[in-house]
Amino acid sequence: MTHVAHSPSVTLPRTNRLSIFGWFAFLFLIACQGIAIAISPPDRDMGDLQKIMYVHVPAAWMTMLAPLTVLVFALRYLWKRREEDDLLAAAAAEVAVAFAGLTLVLGMLWARPTWGVWWTWDARLTSTLVLFLILAGYLALRALVDDREQRAQWSAAVGVLGAINVPIVYMSVRWWRTIHQIQSSPSTVDHAYVIGLRLNAFAFLFVMIYLIRARYEASLIERAAEHESEAIALGRGRGTAHE
């Protein structure tokens, strides 16, 4: 590991290869999906369509967990003004967009054969779409603002806004009349599917943690390269002034 040019407390990863934790997360996900499909009987009403639960529900949970991760690091950035917290929040936001998009697509694949439509403006679907758009807005904002401090402050505000939407998404199935079923939990899911769901929830969690960490490491190296280039440019500028 080497130190980031601007921050002696932060270290850069030396290798581009998948870490041991990365391998573990992906192999664990493969194993959990295999186990869940193998042990769960077809549902009385939905038949084998029920198996979409093992990807849709964990993806939906990560869609809610990742913005809460953004919230934690955004608030920590606003409090301590550490650039690393801003980068962690941004990494979590990017992963959150991926999971939110995945959740929406998986929901559509489940809705078509069960509800007869790909999409309906139901409270749960609409609030999830709003969350996806807020998170996409967060990334667009970061791409548009050049000033680092301003970008970090504004994106932290959008990150907080996105996180505020999470309880709305979660409670939408209870607060409004909705076609979507109530929250999936061991108390609302049939006993036969609980183990598969739990295993896949943990597998998705490990994959999400790995992806956030990998993205954060890439950001650290990007930032170190920027600092190095700026330092060279400043050094040259001073050199020219002396001449």
Partner: protein
């Protein structure tokens, strides 16, 4: 294969496509950033 399995297969395929696709994106970003850092470090050493 009945139509239910078609949707189940599509769901698992999309899941892996998103996860692996995002992983490739991150690794490319990492490789690009590392190249930029190497170039900048070499330029600074000169």
């Amino acid at each position: 294969m009945n139509s239910n399995w078609m949707f189940v297969g599509a769901a698992f395929t999309v899941t892996w496509a998103v996860i692996v696709g995002y992983l490739i994106h991150v690794r490319r970003t990492l490789a690009r950033a590392r190249t930029s850092l190497d170039l900048a470090t070499r330029a600074g050493a000169r």
